[in-house]
């Protein structure tokens, strides 16, 4: 599996990580190597095998549909890089 610069830029865009040209040049062979090594999984016969979903058998629990830890707005905002009027603040997204 060979990953080219275009693919690296596409993945970086999907992952929301800005990459410089130098980083793209370094990442392309690195990711190619790792994906090439992972490729050996294709030789495993998995006919009729279900993908793993829970490694230890467990049941999903339901709880009562009630507020358990409400009313802590200021705690939730305490670590925000920018908070205004009781909300998280982000750059303007609507023109």
């Amino acid at each position: 599996m060979s990953v080219d610069a275009k693919t690296v830029r596409h993945i970086a865009k999907l992952a929301r990580i800005a990459v410089s040209d130098a980083e793209v040049a370094a990442l392309a062979p690195e990711l190619s190597n790792i994906l090439g090594w992972i490729e050996q999984l294709q030789e495993v016969d998995v006919a009729g095998v279900e993908p793993m979903t829970a490694v230890i058998p467990n049941v999903l629990r339901l709880r009562d549909d009630v507020v358990t830890e409400g009313g802590i707005r200021d705690q939730i905002l305490a670590n925000a890089p920018a908070a205004e009027h009781g909300f998280f603040a982000v750059p303007k997204v609507i023109e």
Binding site: A15, I34, P91
Partner: protein
């Protein structure tokens, strides 16, 4: 009284209860040792006030006859655990300054049991690494050195590198670690200490910064098997806040400790004999087999046919889960924000993540993003999850022939800082023996087995059936008694 920092968890607990010394004296001794140990870079934050307050509470509890299971025991906490009011970074610059407003369930359990916190322990960034070199705050040094007089700086392993170094250097009697694909066991092996990853679901993941949620498990690291049993008992337990927490009572692991493997069948998986592993690892493995046979166990050769596919499957599943979990670092709710001039929201996300994440974390997020992307999901992610089923099935079948497995923990002794950073895959191979038990969710412990020719510790791993921590601990205790491992790193720092 000799140096109180020579005492581990059980002896501190018992000594405080007996009045041999005060919890305050213990905490003060460790606080001073941590200050002197700063060159190791094991702690990111020191919290002497927390440890001393818990110690004073323990001394008062003794006076009133209300001692708790860990009264008087100060612990180090890996920086992956959110600690209320104390900076938690997961070793990443993107979380520098982040101060949780809540406590992780595991650390809360430990504090409720009377333990104090000495500080937060350095680690590979978001637990992604096997040498502690990916930390955003500099690598941790192992207290161990080769006996060649060269004084090369060695890794304590990773990702729980600060945890391992702190225990080995006696900066803490015990610590928390986390293990996604070997991050408790490999550093324990590298530093001559003991560390156990319990069955997936035993310890709550709530408040542990998430890496790969289907694999992440907390566990203790300490100087011996008994101390690990004591700590694990306090850490484990059902937690409704973690959807994968197992609703089971916590067994009395310490009370039921017995160095007894008579009649137990110990499997030696033939697929773990791989090329390129130093002869000294094989020799210590053979020695371990002989010790357990001597202790009354029956040794059987077994097969886990899909072993060679465990590591590549892991390097699809873990990065896939990481790419999803780490999407939360967006510069909005907590952590770093980088806002380019003229830029919009997307530019802020991209600049924040580019500046805040280190190279290995970016690499894994991108691998994860790729294997989950349209057109590749089936070929990579689904294939890996099917292989994971086959690996778990290998273990289920092997338990028809044996009760426990004995394997090396890692394919080498500790290496020098910088030796493997240039080659990601060479670094990943550190966890070749640790990852299969992670993928199957099984309990596994690393115990010190001996020293190699360079004077560095080597560890062996005991893997058990799901929920059989007791069997793992008991076999480890029998092993520990025969190994008689007393070597320790002498302070040079």
């Amino acid at each position: 009284m000799s140096d109180l920092t020579d005492l581990g968890v059980a002896r501190i607990r018992d000594g405080v209860a007996a009045g041999d010394f005060s919890a305050r004296e213990v905490a003060e001794a460790y606080v001073a040792r941590i200050e002197a140990g700063r060159p190791l870079n094991a702690f990111l934050v020191e919290t002497p006030d927390h440890a001393l307050a818990a110690a004073d509470a323990a001394d008062r509890a003794r006076a009133s006859g209300a001692l708790k299971p860990l009264s008087g025991v100060p612990l180090g906490i890996k920086d992956l655990f959110c600690t209320e009011g104390v900076q938690t970074t997961a070793g990443s610059k993107i979380l520098e300054g982040y101060t949780p407003v809540y406590e992780s369930s595991v650390s809360a359990n430990l504090f409720a049991a009377g333990a104090g916190m000495l500080g937060k322990l350095n680690m590979d960034e978001f637990a992604m690494g096997s040498s502690n070199e990916t930390s955003g705050y500099g690598p941790v040094l192992s207290p161990w050195r080769r006996n060649d007089g060269g004084n090369v700086a060695l890794t304590p392993g990773g990702s729980s590198g600060g945890s391992a170094s702190a225990v080995a250097a006696r900066l803490a009697p015990g610590v928390t670690g986390t293990d996604t694909g070997g991050s408790i066991r490999q550093p324990a092996a590298f530093t001559g200490i003991t560390g156990i990853k319990p069955t997936y679901g035993r310890c709550s993941r709530w408040g542990i910064v998430a890496f790969a949620s289907s694999l992440d498990q907390a566990g203790p690291m300490a100087r011996d098997v008994r101390d690990c049993a004591i700590l694990l008992e306090a850490m484990a337990g059902f937690d409704p806040k973690d959807a994968t927490s197992l609703k089971l009572d916590v067994p009395k692991w310490e009370a039921n400790l017995a160095a007894d493997v008579r009649g137990k069948r110990i499997g030696i998986p033939k697929e773990y004999r791989i090329d390129g592993v130093p002869a000294e690892i094989d020799a210590v493995w053979e020695q371990g087999i002989a010790w357990l046979r001597d202790a009354g166990a029956e040794i059987v050769e077994v097969s886990l046919p899909h072993t060679k596919y465990a590591l590549p499957a892991y390097y699809i599943i873990a990065p896939a889960e990481a790419s999803s979990n780490l999407a939360r670092y967006d510069g909005v709710r907590y952590g770093l924000r980088v806002q380019p001039a003229q830029g919009g929201l997307d530019d802020m996300y991209e600049a924040t993540r580019a500046a805040g994440f280190g190279a290995e974390v970016k690499r894994r997020i991108m691998i994860g993003t790729y294997v989950l992307s349209a057109g590749f999901y089936d070929a990579y992610f689904n294939q890996a999850q099917k292989v994971r089923t086959l690996i778990a099935r290998d273990f289920e079948r092997v338990w028809e022939h044996c009760d426990l497995l004995l394997t090396p923990t890692a394919p080498s002794a500790a290496f020098g800082l910088g030796e493997k950073m240039a080659d990601p895959i060479a670094m990943y191979l550190n966890d070749v023996f640790a990852v299969p038990a992670s993928l199957a969710g099984l309990p596994a412990i690393s115990v010190p087995a001996g020293l190699d020719g360079q004077g560095l510790p080597l560890g062996l791993q005991i893997v058990g059936k799901a929920l059989d921590e007791q069997g793992v601990l008991n076999a480890a205790l029998a092993f520990e008694e025969r190994a008689g491992f007393t070597a320790r790193a002498e302070a040079w720092w």
